[in-house]
Symmetry: C2
DNA sequence: TTCTTATTTGGCTATATTGCCAAATAAGAA
DNA sequence: TTCTTATTTGGCAATATAGCCAAATAAGAA
């Protein structure tokens, strides 16, 4: 594997890794509907505000969200809406997985 | 955030997390072209065969690849080709990110 | 100014991940 | 059978991640 190829793959992995957390997926979905302040998101998610802030920092550094300070609040919005298109495919992975699981369970019963 | 919602998001995160590694992205791309044995992939990737085997295990458990044992070799193939569609979007995230970086650098120079 | 609210950052612990080596397992070949 | 090849598994050390609390910072309000 050549060095240049490695760099590209590492960059892609960073974006995927930034998405790969339940709370961050929740935030992404929420921001796909409308921009939100850290405070709003914290109330919805139900973890410490410092944790939400750090999750937002991960998403911002990955280039997935952008922030906009207005008054003493910071509003975040989804920068790349195409991300939402991916979930259909992810669901098909999950469907294939659970189908396999169901078949396995049926085989075990016999 | 309700419990059921959490479960769905955690399942999605598992799939994304399984993708979120340079070597595994390489494997996914390679398998999108043709099925490959562990041995083939190891030669291409250039890490220990046990490491490749563990990466494949992560992808299999996530439902992204499936395996097929023939003789003393195990062939892996991509189970969900729609995954490849996502990379265009990931590239757009990276493009936005590096554009921002370029603009920042320009601003610093002034 | 002081007080309040919103957000970020530092520090800590617990947990998860990565990648190697060595060993175990499996399938053929000799 | 023994030898070779292919793959997986267990164990370990190094590193990364997640979440909390406390403290720092920033913007308004009183």
């Amino acid at each position: 594997m050549y060095q240049q190829r490695k760099t590209v793959l590492a960059a892609r992995a960073t974006v995927l890794k930034a998405m790969a957390h339940p709370t961050r997926l929740y935030i992404i979905e929420e921001l796909s509907r409308q921009e939100r302040s850290v405070c709003d998101l914290t109330a919805q998610v139900g973890v410490d505000v410092s944790t939400v802030s750090k999750h937002l920092s991960v998403l911002r550094q990955a280039g997935i969200v952008s922030d906009d300070k207005r008054g003493n609040q910071v509003f975040y919005k989804l920068r790349v809406p195409c991300i939402m298109n991916f979930f259909d495919c992810v669901e098909s992975v999950l469907a294939a997985r659970s189908q396999e699981y169901a078949q396995l369970m049926e085989a075990v019963r016999k």
